[in-house]
């Protein structure tokens, strides 16, 4: 049985192919201007890694912002359920999942079966989302993936960025640059700020171990390390944290096939 999950996010899209609940292949591509086209491309790319043809897929579940326009999906489900399910697949003891994406941030609580019991999300404010770090990377002319490692070069208490709003923080960062504050210190301040924002969201839902982080920001070691320190817990991160949503979708797709049989 072949099941497929597609997660069309605001910045990236992922496809996961499962054979009998075994991860067969996945793809990760940037979301283009047309979500439907992006979904087709993500599927194509993942299938290329297998010897499967599209017709061999038994069921497809789409999730993410662009889930309603995925042309070949049999069903679409919320990314909350999919992230919980996907995180549970990698870490069966997961009870709290933080999904830090490009344009939003979600804290999801789930039970022992990976079923969502509560969640909270921030999709109103760019502070505390991947977007804020993207904005800063382009402002400071560094690569997004360099932010984390560089921020860890700064020792001691991180510098405090007093503005929450990304737009105001940009001005604050420019002033710091002009004052000659080392880049690593500024980045430490920014990562700490994101971690602080996210911590607030987690506190409101309540943290139960084990704790899993998914989504693009979990690749930023500067944010993850600081968040772990603030929360006093260790975070589990799978080998490719950006496919957790698509994987969850694919697991649901496998469920639907089983039901049909």
């Amino acid at each position: 049985m072949i099941a497929c999950g597609i997660d069309v996010g605001s910045l990236t899209a992922e496809a996961v192919i499962l054979r009998d609940e075994e991860l067969l292949a996945y793809s990760l591509i940037p979301t283009g201007p047309r979500s439907a086209q992006t979904a087709v491309e993500a599927l194509k790319e993942s299938l290329q890694k297998t010897n499967l043809r599209p017709e061999e897929i038994d069921y497809t579940v789409a999730t993410g912002y662009g889930r309603v326009v995925v042309p070949f999906a049999n069903k679409n489900l919320s990314e909350i359920s999919c992230h919980a399910r996907g995180a549970h697949y990698f870490f069966p003891l997961a009870r709290t999942i933080l999904d830090m994406g490009g344009q939003d941030c979600k804290v999801i609580r789930c039970d022992g079966r990976g079923k969502v019991t509560n969640f909270l999300m921030n999709d109103k404010c760019a502070a505390g989302t991947g977007r804020s770090l993207e904005v800063m990377a382009s402002l400071l002319q560094i690569r997004l993936e360099d932010i984390g490692p560089l921020s860890l070069e700064s020792l001691g208490e991180p510098l405090k960025i007093s503005n929450t709003c990304v737009i105001f923080a940009k001005t604050e960062v420019l002033v710091l640059v002009r004052q000659g504050v080392p880049l690593s210190q500024i980045l430490a301040g920014l990562c700490d700020g994101v971690a602080e924002q996210v911590k607030g969201l987690i506190r409101r839902v309540g943290l139960e171990e084990e704790f899993v982080i998914s989504g693009g920001i979990s690749k930023n070691i500067g944010v993850v390390k600081r968040l772990e320190k603030k929360l006093g817990v260790k975070a589990h991160i799978c080998f490719e944290p950006q496919i957790v949503g698509a994987l969850g979708a694919a697991l649901f797709a496998a469920d639907f096939v089983k039901k049909q049989d």
Binding site: C125, A126, R131, C165, V166, I167, F168
Partner: protein, 264 residues
């Protein structure tokens, strides 16, 4: 004339230093100057320009009060009243019926409530989020390569069909880029931007309650697009000063005047 008191008020904003010289006959000179470098230096430059415009010597000014951000850094100042008080005083002086002031600045919104004497009774502010502030307008102007002054008039020609769904100004930027690519008319995008800002301001207003007369102050109050959109939201009689950005400085000069008058 021994009674001819002259005072000065300076208001240090996020972007501009505003100044007013106030005499027996009213405002003698006014200035809005881009903030550059140290607050104290910018304040001094603004003050000198005020004096030159009015052809006065520093010795002819009785008191100078500074308000705004880092107001205590203005070494010339004899007093540092808060900008809340200054905006209310200034608005009340211009429009004695003032009960509510909406101060719409570059990096923040303040809503001030006052009594019939122009005393501050309550206030609410947002300086945490750029949505609803002048900096959002500036960002959009930059994206569209138009000047700040063109924005308001263009927004008035909007069909009103487009609505921006993002709260955050950062997210709204991406939404605007998408609309530009979609070929949405500039006027409609600007209309939606102005509407979004006005609705943020109105939301804040609802939380504290607005009593007429309502006066708009601050640089954003100059923008006709915001004026129109906000009037529609508030459905109240609104007064807009000729020079809304100097109201805080005017209030500082009035407070300096009260203090100088009391001393004599």
């Amino acid at each position: 004339m021994p009674n001819n008191i002259v005072t000065a008020g300076l208001d240090i904003g996020h972007q501009n230093v505003k100044g007013v010289l106030l005499g027996e006959q009213g405002i003698m000179s006014r200035i809005t100057l881009r903030l550059s470098g140290e607050v104290d230096t910018s304040a001094k430059v603004a003050y000198e320009k005020l004096l030159t415009q009015a052809q006065l010597k520093p010795s002819q000014v009785d008191h100078l009060f500074a308000t705004g951000l880092e107001r205590e850094k203005v070494s010339l100042a004899d007093g540092n009243p808060t900008e809340m008080l200054c905006h209310l005083k200034g608005a009340h002086w211009l429009f004695p019926g003032t009960r509510t002031v909406l101060d719409l600045g570059a990096e923040g919104i303040r809503i001030l409530r006052g009594d019939s004497e122009g005393n501050l009774t309550n206030f609410l502010m947002n300086d945490k989020c750029a949505a609803g502030t002048g900096i959002f307008l500036e960002t959009v102007a930059l994206m569209m390569r138009i000047s700040l002054t063109e924005m308001g008039p263009l927004a008035l020609r909007s069909s009103g069909k487009l609505v921006l769904t993002s709260t955050c100004a950062v997210f709204a930027e991406s939404e605007i880029v998408a609309e530009i690519h979609r070929g949405t008319p500039l006027e409609d995008i600007l209309g939606a931007v102005h509407e979004s800002i006005a609705s943020k301001i109105a939301q804040l207003g609802k939380r504290i309650g607005l009593e007429p007369e309502v006066v708009f102050t601050g640089g954003v109050a100059r923008n006709v697009g915001i004026q129109q959109a906000l009037k529609k939201h508030l459905a109240l009689d609104v007064k807009i000063p000729e020079d809304p950005d100097i109201v805080g400085a005017l209030g500082a000069a009035i407070l300096a005047r009260n203090s100088a008058g009391a001393k004599r």
